[in-house]
Point group: C2
Chain length 302, copies 2
């Protein structure tokens, strides 16, 4: 059986790899690191990159925390267990160029009283403008990783992402989805815990090549003020999703997590315009039309 | 006994008065109106002012809706009653100049099966920079209205606002508070329902003279980019409060309210900077130091 220290150590290495990869990609900015301790036990390494060539604001956070589970969380989990351990890597990247997509990745492991244990995570993409070839490429990369580990992972986790990354009050998805999974156990998957762990590491390690490709396809595109304004409105939607729905964010806010690490997911700037409606037939409207569940990006006809 | 039609009609008149008052104050922009119907019953008049001389974005909304109470709300209210009626006026104003404060006002009436009925509401002020004379003036205006109707209203509702307008994850109040009350009934107050209604109207009608004075005290102040940037960060906190905690916003999002009317409270632009800390001794730090509960603004020593 895998031990939690090994998981945390590997996730830490993945954080290192991803930060190096993103610095190379950006070519200008470098991460600043903040080490923090959690009062109840454990701590983390928050790493923030800002005002880069490509990356306007991004965070790549590692944490490994433990202690007694807060009442409110015990209730929501429906458990009586008290001692928890949680470790993971979390990423959100907001780029400068509206043609480069926002990306989010998370891999995490959770343990209760050293008995209940599960893995969670996912990657999802939020293009300001959906470029269909890129969406197909993104989902292909995720499907490749998933298929390597389990035949039903991609279809199940793709559908889960569609359900999870949904802005109910706008009746639109946050972006083009990706994969999302939670509470993965050997019982549910037929895999050993080592195999599930390996899957999570592979998913983590697909982040850099996937995002690098997406950035390189779009980084040289010029953009207008109109396109920049649209990006800022889409970031407003991102803020709405994260503050209203995102389980990780709300978990963090309710459990006195490290606020600045949790809210690093918010963009430098977000805008709201009352009742903004894109022109019919515009590329903004086309993107809105694609922000829905169950788009089959793998077989999408370009 | 007062009838709901009378309440709605009067609140509508108050909306008219406030819109006129704000147009005079701004001197440039005028409100645009959108009439809407609610699928389940009733509707509203959303009025938005944008890109004004003083007012960057503001909404003054009236609604009177009725129908069957959604399950989730019945649970949160702990009631079995089905038929509800709700009417109210809601205001949020975001000004251009960082020296002019953000203001919020709401008066509302709620009825269940024509048996349970109560009033709620409040006014609170969110200065980007706290000007102590203005904070004292603001609370004096509120105290005057409250004292006219009930000796314990101001102290009780002031404390209630401090508790309500609190950003728990930041451990700071949204602004300098004001008054907040909910579920006011004749039983609780010793007033008749007509008297409680009159109080709510008086509170609504104190909005224009109060905000006019606060604007006129500060509108000519020049400001730097640094001060503008601070305003944008404070607006970020406003967004956090509204999306994470505000009961009215969350009620609206959960009950399929008219999204654009609900989220008119969000500013045109809000910013986030990772782990921003004002310089020690700066006026930004001074404001932060005053964003706490239980400041006695009425007796505040200037």
């Amino acid at each position: 059986m895998i031990i939690k220290e090994k998981i945390a150590e590997t996730y830490k290495i993945i954080q290192d790899e991803i930060c190096r990869g993103l610095e190379v990609l950006d070519g200008s900015a470098i991460f600043e690191e903040e080490l923090w301790d959690r009062e109840g036990g454990g701590g983390g390494r928050t790493r923030i990159i800002q005002q880069g060539n490509i990356l306007e604001k991004g965070g790549v956070n590692f944490s490994a925390v433990h202690g007694k589970l807060p009442e409110v969380i015990k209730k929501s989990f429906g458990v009586d267990e008290e001692d928890f351990f949680a470790t993971g890597v979390s990423i959100v990247i907001h780029p400068n160029n509206p043609w480069v997509p926002i990306i989010h990745m998370n891999i995490r492991y959770f343990e209760l009283n050293e008995q209940l244990r599960w893995f969670g995570g996912g990657i999802d993409l939020t293009p300001h403008y959906i470029v269909e070839e890129d969406a197909r490429f993104f989902h292909h990369m995720l499907k490749n990783v998933c298929d390597k580990h389990h035949p039903t992972f991609y279809p199940e986790f793709k559908a889960w992402a569609d359900r999870y990354f949904f802005i109910k009050h706008r009746n639109e998805t946050r972006g083009i989805g990706g994969v999302f999974y939670d509470k993965l156990t050997p019982e549910k998957t037929g895999l050993t815990d080592v195999q599930i762990f390996d899957f999570s590491c592979d998913l983590g390690r697909t982040f850099v090549p996937t995002y690098t490709e997406l950035v390189n396809r779009n980084r040289e595109k010029t953009y207008t003020q109109h396109e920049k304004d649209w990006q800022l409105l889409r970031r407003g939607r991102y803020v709405e999703f994260n503050l209203v729905y995102d389980a990780g964010t709300r978990f963090g806010l309710e459990t006195n997590g490290r606020i600045e690490s949790i809210l690093m997911s918010l963009p430098t700037q977000a805008n709201w315009v009352y009742d903004y409606k894109p022109a019919p037939g515009s590329k903004e409207q086309k993107t809105l039309d694609l922000l829905k569940k169950d788009v089959d990006w793998i077989n999408y006809e370009l």
